[in-house]
Symmetry: C2
Subunit: 327 residues, 2 copies
Amino acid sequence: MKAKLLLGDSFPEEELKQVTRYADIYRLSEMDDLELDAVLPSIDCVLVLLWPERLNRTRVSKMTKLSLVQSGLAGVNHIPFGDLSREVLVCSNAGGYSDEVGEYAWGLLLAAGKRIVRLDRDVKKTGFKRASTVEVGRDVLILKGKVLGILGYGGIGRTVAKLGKAFGMDVIVFSRRTLEERDIVSLQGRAGLETVLRDCDVLILALPLTKSTKRMIGGTELSMMKRNAVLVNVARAEIIEEETLYRWLVDNKDFIYATDVWWMKEGRESYSPSLPFLNLDNFVGTPHVSGPSAVVGGGPARNAVRNLLRFFRGEELLNVVDRNEYA
Amino acid sequence: MKAKLLLGDSFPEEELKQVTRYADIYRLSEMDDLELDAVLPSIDCVLVLLWPERLNRTRVSKMTKLSLVQSGLAGVNHIPFGDLSREVLVCSNAGGYSDEVGEYAWGLLLAAGKRIVRLDRDVKKTGFKRASTVEVGRDVLILKGKVLGILGYGGIGRTVAKLGKAFGMDVIVFSRRTLEERDIVSLQGRAGLETVLRDCDVLILALPLTKSTKRMIGGTELSMMKRNAVLVNVARAEIIEEETLYRWLVDNKDFIYATDVWWMKEGRESYSPSLPFLNLDNFVGTPHVSGPSAVVGGGPARNAVRNLLRFFRGEELLNVVDRNEYA
């Protein structure tokens, strides 16, 4: 008998075609509430990009047969773990975005660190007054020979690290486990984190948002960093304390924050933060396009569906997350 | 007897110290016209960043002993070849800027190709209206698997190519000679140039400005390129026909030009072009900071002085340019 898959978002039909060999697909968008409630008790697995509002606690409790939630996003912080019984496996989509988000992190780093965003704005706004050669060049961050710190070493961290080596940087990583790569230093624990913070010229956040990474970058951590460091965030905004970072950027004009991710307001990312980050010259922000740039190519859908197929075939699942790490 | 070196610009004293073993240094900035004119007939070599206005044709003709002009800039298009007798050797400072300008080219490419400059501006100006995931992500250029074209394969081209391979791109180079690198396709001649133009998703200009490269990118060449290509210029603006490019950008909104170099107005680069490039969303421009970002680190001075020392020691000079290539 075929399994029953509840599909929360539109996914490329090409990928879903493989699923239909093993499962009947119930599309959230094509069912009214009555139809949805009727099918919930027979659902075996759920595939979602963002967790749909309609799948509220009451409805989740009706999915008594549910055994797998496959996230289309790399992170699973959007999954309502509290509503899911402990028997339900939750899989992240780690690896689905590695190339594109890793590239994008480098884009933010270079656009901000080389002062390209600001210089382009200055040229276009006011015309640029030529200063001495040395003055003009001093602000441009040279990467070769500098230290690249990375927090987190999943697929994105790996892509970022590889590019760092190509730029001639020393790469130090804060990771759960010691890495096997010989040319990358990996550090663990609080002491390891502090070493990365102190030594790096550039820090790229590539961690999942979990109970232990939420607000992990606060005043203590920022004050350990170089005053002219570049902090790049392609993970989740909530890893950083918003108010503390704002103050820090105001007080440290040479410190740059470049981000593709934003703090939540009313349940979704807001590109108009509560504090006036957007007025700061040392803030570079883009409206969460790194993930979507991967979605366009179909990689995340392929990756998520590949894991679903493993589930249907009874093979070992990849990217099963430890729910104890989530609220 | 020591040689006599005329120094056109301020250079790091640390580097000049080595020169003083072999030569007396005459600093243009410390001499009035009378003193300058008195010393010109005994000058053996000149070291300049930009060619100084005071060294006009009359004065150049007085340097009857002159045998070497060492440029502090990578390019020598600023050198008044017409005024120099054919016996004078002119050396570029090729290699002195390779790492920094190569990095900067990648900065421009990513800042423009990933739409970071534009997205940051949109977020800050108007607040960003969230479109569908796919719409938002579609504009972001993914580099892995795409074709990187490079015109010119000196030090800068080499750095750019190496990074292109690290990003997983296919690299094709238009160069004078066939390259030995196995993983890079190199093409020569007009047919080679056209292949690079047609095949590339991204084109980086890393050529010297010579008689044959001046205005080499015109309407014919642009129309061979993909309509959504990114053209990056870290060489010299004059390699491209200004009016043609402006028209092209107006007519092809998905084509992006990202540049650190600008067309000349009244003898120097102007960051306010004659045509309203600065109003175009598909134009990204920074005020020639890539070279200065290298100067700050002292690399170009070291490279230039290293060549001067070869001259003083009677060793073979590097980077001697073919004056026939210049006007």
